[in-house]
């Protein structure tokens, strides 16, 4: 059993903070970009035109059945080839995250919209509202309410997923910690720290979300 040396954390604090900042950036971009593209995909999937709904459905199915690690590799190698110049691992990881999470947000948004009863939209149309008005004033407000907890839950999952950018050597929180671990020969302290930090952030968010859900249900 190695002697613990927690000083190693204090010495590398600013480097680790940079890693955490990158993880936070990934969450922010993946969530906002994923929601926007996911919303577009959801509208496509809800279309009655099969030529529009089909490709969106295929995209979602493929993305959801692939490991994120493989998707990261795809974009890491594909994007520079497609646009003809290198874009760096950060940009490619951001694109990969947005495209991957979009598939998951699509399903959340679609379920939220489907959840609003058909009759309500029909009633709205019957009162003389246009389709876009029905969507904006009747369907979306209720759908948003239903999907909020699921979106919040997905954000926690995205935060956990950011650790996977380790495979494209991006300096997220886990990668910075593993660099320090290798440099100082201190894997025990560094990986324990990473586990504890993730545990505290994710567990408290999960519990807060449960509390919020119960409060809304009751």
């Amino acid at each position: 059993m190695s002697d613990f040396d927690w000083g190693v954390i204090a010495r590398s604090w600013s480097f680790l903070a940079e890693g955490m900042a990158l993880s936070a950036l990934l969450v922010a971009v993946a969530t906002s970009g994923g929601l926007v593209i996911g919303f577009g995909l959801a509208l496509m999937r809800l279309s009655s035109n099969r030529l529009i709904a089909g490709p969106a459905a295929a995209y979602v199915t493929v993305m959801r059945s692939l490991p994120l690690v493989l998707v990261l590799f795809w974009f890491y190698f594909l994007v520079p080839l497609a646009i003809g110049r290198p874009i760096g691992s950060l940009a490619s990881a951001l694109i990969a995250f947005v495209m991957f999470e979009a598939a998951f947000y699509c399903e959340i948004i679609r379920a939220g919209i489907n959840n609003v009863r058909q009759g309500q939209a029909e009633a709205g149309l019957a009162t003389g509202l246009r389709r876009s008005q029905v969507m904006r004033h009747i369907v979306m407000p209720q759908a948003l309410k239903a999907m909020t907890p699921l979106v919040l839950n997905q954000i926690i999952i995205v935060f956990q997923d950011t650790s996977l950018v380790y495979v494209v050597a991006l300096h997220d929180f886990l990668t910075t910690a593993s660099i320090v671990a290798a440099r100082d020969g201190r894997p025990t302290e560094m990986y324990t720290l990473v586990a504890v930090v993730y545990l505290i952030i994710c567990l408290s968010s999960t519990k807060a979300l449960e509390f919020y859900r119960k409060g809304r249900a009751g």
Partner: protein
């Protein structure tokens, strides 16, 4: 895009061999970690549903801890940290004598993470069935523990065949994490081919198809099981 696709690269030695062995590792890791996840998840999920007690709390702590640390971090804890913090003789045994150390570490890490997710499904299934079947079972004269063991748990498990399918597919995807500790599974092998030939997109395409095929097979098989014994069969019997 001036990438020159060259599919024939995949038919050259040793790349076909690499992809094939990668697929086998992926399947092996998925199956073994799923076996661990199911056994741990069943026990923990049932314990978590018991009326009261300290065991229930312990099960809750397991679920909270294992679900809230990213699986890759857990894998690193098992691989880099565990050998350092156990007594020296055990640590040495893990480093030197454990057969297939990377494979074993990967399936334990992935199995215990997936186990915490399975446990939640099991608990949810038991809860959903228990609320209305428990009073009925008690009314037939069973004692509470008997009603729980003989009626609520079996029916609760049958009801969750569907959700368990998704959990298995999550486990298949998690198997890709083991590339970080040097297991040459499907994703690792395609990355490997990229390294050697710069024709990575062909290899990634094959890996993608591999995951899709595994997914389709699992979904089909589970639908069959669901129709025979699972939630679908229950709904049919009820209607």
């Amino acid at each position: 895009m001036n990438y020159r696709w060259n599919w024939s690269i995949l038919l050259q030695e040793p790349y076909t061999e690499w992809l094939w062995s990668g697929l086998q590792w992926t399947v092996a890791i998925s199956l073994v970690s799923w076996a661990i996840a199911l056994s741990v998840g069943l026990v923990v999920g049932v314990v978590r549903s018991l009326p009261s007690g300290i065991l229930r709390m312990i099960a809750g702590i397991y679920i909270d801890v294992f679900r809230n640390i990213p699986p890759l971090v857990q894998l690193f804890l098992w691989y880099f940290v565990l050998p350092e913090i156990v007594p020296e003789t055990i640590g040495l045994w893990i480093k030197r004598d454990l057969p297939y150390p990377e494979f074993v570490t990967a399936v334990v890490a992935i199995g215990l993470f997936a186990g915490s997710r399975v446990a939640e499904q099991v608990r949810a299934g038991i809860e959903a069935v228990g609320n209305h079947l428990m009073p009925a079972a008690l009314a037939t004269g069973l004692r509470p523990m008997q009603a729980f063991r003989l009626v609520v748990v079996p029916l609760g498990l049958r009801a969750i065949v569907g959700p368990l399918t998704s959990e298995f597919l999550v486990t298949v995807k998690l198997s890709s994490l083991s590339l970080t500790i040097g297991v040459l599974e499907l994703t690792a092998q395609s990355r490997h081919i990229e390294n050697y030939t710069f024709q990575g997109l062909e290899a990634f395409t094959v890996a993608t198809i591999g995951y899709l095929v595994i997914g389709l097979c699992v979904t089909g098989l589970m639908r069959l099981i669901d129709d025979r014994v699972g939630g679908a069969a229950l709904r049919k019997a009820g209607s």
